[in-house]
Symmetry: C2
Subunit: 185 residues, 2 copies
DNA sequence: GCAAAGAAACCTACCATACGGTATCTTTAT
DNA sequence: ATAAAGATACCGTATGGTAGGTTTCTTTGC
């Protein structure tokens, strides 16, 4: 049946798979009706195996969220290092990061972040903290109402792409991105 | 015990109460952990009574959502009738409606709409439909990329206000709204 | 005008199931 | 040998839903 018992054990890989599949399930079924069994199945592990890696459901969810936040952090830092002009550097990176995520479609684990963020007050706080820290860190270059609007619009677009059954076309998205980035100049 | 059995029956009123309380519960506990019992209790009806009005949990949730969408529709229509310039009329009404909702804070039944919208894929589709119909209806006056960005930004702000533990200040919100509406001219 | 019948509104009691979590056992790696 | 990885079996509970009863409203026949 499950092959995890017979194959070579690569716990790190299993852990990764669990995180990814959990994110995926959260998108498909909504975090509320997310079930340990479903996640375990999707990762080809039994529920017991899952609970070995994450001692509770909440622990799993938290881990997913932290993982995604970490990736987002890295992504933004990378994008910022490629940006030579100072003003709005963070905002541009933010926009690009979000569009990149958006392009990956609703199957991307990133989509889970948003959903989790709304549902769970605890995660909401985490996100809020992250954002506020980041804003404070780049206050000198990115504290302007135009930039604020650009960031909010990026959020909205990202949200829309989750919401719409048929996401926006790549062409539309590209045009929107250009327009937003123009706002940051 | 429950007096619903002895009092004069006013099914319409009970139905309303069920919808309202369901919305309220969805805000408090999150839609995921929304329970029929809790809603029934809040409306002073037994679970059986609730299930008489709404044959399933999903039916109840859908009804709540539809109800709120209907209210939003009316609100937007009203705002549009007060707007004399043509271009961007819908977008301005959309922005105003969302800011009005945002100002009411997270206790408003509208907050439930948003959360539900993210969580439940089925509701996501309903919202998407609503939006697309509305956009088609106002294609002549509101199909422009600037307006699109303004709407997305409104979504983002609304989202941020749900997300942030301490919502944005009324002053900030006002400034943002003005700025957005300027984009629609 | 008024029973009687039928439908609608609502309640009580119950079932089935699915879910999170525990306890324990087997297999693999070091 | 020991610990980690993973599987299996099981438990308690809460929840959505069903069945069928009881009370109130509405319609119909006379």
């Amino acid at each position: 049946m499950s092959e995890a018992h017979r194959r070579e054990k690569q716990p790190e890989q299993v852990r990764r798979s669990l995180l990814d599949q959990a994110a995926r399930c959260a998108v498909d079924q909504g975090l509320g009706s997310l079930t340990l069994q479903a996640v375990a199945d999707a990762a080809s592990v039994t529920k017991g195996g899952l609970l070995h890696h994450f001692p509770s459901k909440q622990a799993l969810i938290d881990a997913v969220f932290q993982d995604l936040l970490q990736k987002l952090d890295a992504q933004i830092d990378r994008l910022m290092s490629e940006d030579d002009s100072k003003r709005g550097g963070f905002t541009r990176a933010y926009i690009d990061a979000f569009f990149q995520v958006t392009l990956e479609g609703s199957e991307s684990p990133w989509a889970a972040l948003s959903i989790s963020c709304m549902t769970d007050p605890h995660l909401r706080a985490l996100w809020s903290d992250w954002m506020q820290k980041r804003l404070k860190r780049h206050a000198e270059t990115d504290d302007h109402s135009d930039l604020k609007i650009a960031r909010y619009a990026a959020d909205g677009i990202w949200l829309a792409n989750l919401t719409e059954t048929n996401g926006l076309s790549a062409k539309e998205l590209d045009a929107l991105r250009e327009q937003l980035k123009n706002l940051t100049k």
